[in-house]
């Protein structure tokens, strides 16, 4: 009996008392849940921010701003530290004034700003910025610089300070290999392995033998990581897997994505971030199109290869991203007749960019750089799971945190 009275008080009287003094709702700030395997950062070069989406629901979870006036570098995530990092460039008066380059640190649950680390170097800026800013492990962050020196700046996230600038003229990119090791691609057709000492300073350089030709058949900067290896794909479709655990790095013999018939029909890889590797299943995803010399940034469709068998295993169908982008602007009912008509009639130009999650039931994200819509595919079957609309306006990159 006493209990019933107590329950009645808690259930009926108490809420009445509270609502009598407080408004029904109160504004507050959301926080992120524990990070999901199928999250994706969608940077936008026009809106100057990166939006975090959950690929399982298609919902936006939050965003990080960027002061960069080119494509924002995709935010980096350290699960161990519980932080996101954003490498940025800003001017004191908006688009003029003196320039600063810096790393912003955000809490991974609140997305609130925590601290910044100023860089004495000028971060490279490029439309696609592949391998321009990467985490090597949980302690060191590396940024690629272009002017005045071609170099990499090492940042110590534990001590939150800039460590040093490593000059590597004639090479480009930061391809992480281990907590104190990364690789870069060089203009003489080799790859450079850079090892750091315990404090993050340069310990050694080691160059691979030449495995590609920068003039006749260069490999793209978009590449897939496979443990201590990186899988590079050339303009003509040669696959070069380079193992950076050895000193010097070991390129394995190249193989082709195309048989003679396909090559003769003009099929070739292309896009902006058009190569992805799912390490556990040794799947290689490449965006392919029919083109000619100079078409290496054209969008296309997704082909799937088995890295061990070195052969194609699948081709994925893509949803109509033009329609997905335009339907919200047209303000028509998404499930209605006009939307269906748009999906059916609008040309779908293919994608420039793909990214795959690392878990055992992976999803593949795909976007066209000129359309603010992201396709979410089952990375094993190729089935379209959903299309995320209103995913910004334009941008050539994606990153699974």
């Amino acid at each position: 009996m006493q209990r019933i009275v107590l329950l009645a008080f808690v259930g009926i009287v108490f809420p009445l008392l509270v609502s009598a003094t407080d408004p029904i709702e109160k504004a507050s700030v959301a926080t992120l849940p524990e990070s999901g395997d199928h999250w994706v950062w969608v940077p936008d070069r026009i809106l100057q921010h990166s939006v975090l989406f959950d690929g399982d629901t298609g919902e936006a979870l939050g965003m990080l701003d960027s002061t960069s006036t080119l494509t924002p570098k995709t935010p980096l995530f350290s699960r161990t530290r519980g932080e996101f990092y954003s490498v940025d460039t800003a001017y004191t008066r908006g688009n003029r004034g003196s320039r600063i380059d810096f790393v912003s640190i955000y809490d991974a649950r609140t997305l609130g700003y925590e601290a910044e680390i100023l860089l004495p170097t000028q971060t490279g800026q490029s439309n696609s910025s592949h391998a321009y800013a990467e985490l090597l492990g949980d302690r060191f962050l590396a940024t690629f610089n272009q002017f005045p020196n071609v170099s990499v700046s090492i940042v110590d996230l534990e001590q939150r300070r800039f460590v040093e600038e490593i000059v590597m003229t004639g090479c480009a990119g930061v391809f992480p290999v281990g907590p104190r090791r990364f690789a870069a691609l060089c203009g003489d057709g080799t790859a450079l392995r850079v090892d750091l000492d315990a404090s993050g300073r340069k310990q050694s350089f080691s160059s691979s033998p030449k495995f590609f030709d920068a003039v006749t058949d260069p490999v793209a900067m978009s590449a897939g990581r496979d443990g201590t290896r990186w899988v590079f794909v050339s303009f003509s479709g040669q696959v070069h897997s380079v193992d950076f655990s050895t000193d010097p790095p070991t390129p394995t013999p190249g193989w082709s994505l195309l048989d003679d018939t396909l090559a003769r029909a003009g099929w070739r890889p292309g896009g902006l971030q058009h190569v992805a590797v799912h390490e556990p299943t040794q799947r290689l995803y490449v965006v392919m199109h029919q083109g000619e010399a100079g078409s290496h940034k054209k969008p296309g469709n997704i082909w799937v290869y088995d890295l061990n068998q070195k052969k194609r295993t699948d081709r994925f169908e893509l949803p109509n991203l033009t329609a997905a982008f335009l339907i919200p602007f047209a303000k028509v009912e998404p499930a209605g007749f006009v939307s269906r008509l748009m999906r059916w009639t609008l040309p779908s130009p293919g994608v420039h960019t793909i990214a795959v999650s690392a878990d055992a039931s992976p999803v593949l994200f795909a976007r066209n750089a000129e359309l603010g819509a992201v396709a979410v595919l089952d990375a094993l079957s190729g089935k379209t799971l959903r299309v995320i609309g209103e995913a910004g306006l334009a941008g050539p990159t994606l990153r699974v945190p």
């Binding site: 026009i46 006036t69 080119l70 460039t89 001017y91 688009n95 003029r96 004034g97 320039r99 004495p120 000028q122 490279g124 800026q125 490029s126 439309n127 696609s128 592949h130 272009q146 002017f147 005045p148 020196n149 071609v150 600038e165 004639g170 090479c171 480009a172 990119g173 870069a184 691609l185 060089c186 203009g187 920068a214 003039v215 260069p218 490999v219 793209a220 900067m221 010399a293 100079g294 078409s295 290496h296 940034k297 000129e370």
Partner: protein, 185 residues
């Protein structure tokens, strides 16, 4: 950082020592007197202390169709442009929009002019100091190469050396005639 600063300083000092010398292109003029002339076009003229090089066959321009129109991505000089065509932004293929600045560092490639069948050296200087022009976005990549072959890369922001490295649009300046297409083609 001091090591790097000292390194650049030494170069700066050397530059100052050489400041009194005649410019390269004034001397290129001497070179032209001899054999068949290497055609030198707008940039060359800019450096030529106001003197126009007499024997310069300019490329055919203003012909019909998109390849003759600087506002089109198909414009013949735009064969490896990545960005907004300045002709749509208040400038032209050779002039930056008002209030912006020409990047002093740039990359050079060749394009073939369909009207005369000749290859020309194209300098893709960026215009800098104002945000995206946002009009006539183009992305053509004939002979373009990844970042490690950086002097043929059009993804890089070439506004280095300008006061503000904020990218506005891209030029396509003919700096000379080429005897053949660039080796990447």
């Amino acid at each position: 950082m001091t090591r790097l600063d000292a390194w650049w300083e030494e170069r700066a000092r050397r530059l100052a020592r050489n400041a009194g010398r005649r410019t390269f292109l004034a001397r290129m003029g001497t070179l032209l007197v001899g054999g068949t002339a290497l055609p030198l076009l707008p940039v060359a003229r800019a450096y030529g202390e106001g003197k126009k090089s007499a024997r310069v066959p300019a490329p055919a321009e203003g012909f019909d169709g998109p390849a003759g129109d600087p506002k089109r991505c198909e414009y013949w000089r735009h064969c490896a442009i990545d960005g907004f065509a300045c002709a749509c932004c208040g400038g032209s293929a050779t002039t930056c929009p008002p209030g912006t600045e020409v990047s002093p560092v740039t990359w050079v490639g060749t394009c073939r002019n369909p009207a005369d069948g000749k290859d020309y050296l194209i300098s893709y200087n960026d215009c800098c100091g104002k945000a995206f022009c946002g009009r006539c976005p183009c992305n053509r990549n004939e002979g373009e190469r990844p970042d490690y072959h950086w002097y043929r890369n059009n993804d890089i922001n070439w506004c280095a050396g300008a006061r503000s490295q904020v990218y506005n649009c891209s030029l396509a300046v003919v700096i000379g005639q080429a005897t053949e297409a660039q080796p990447e083609k």
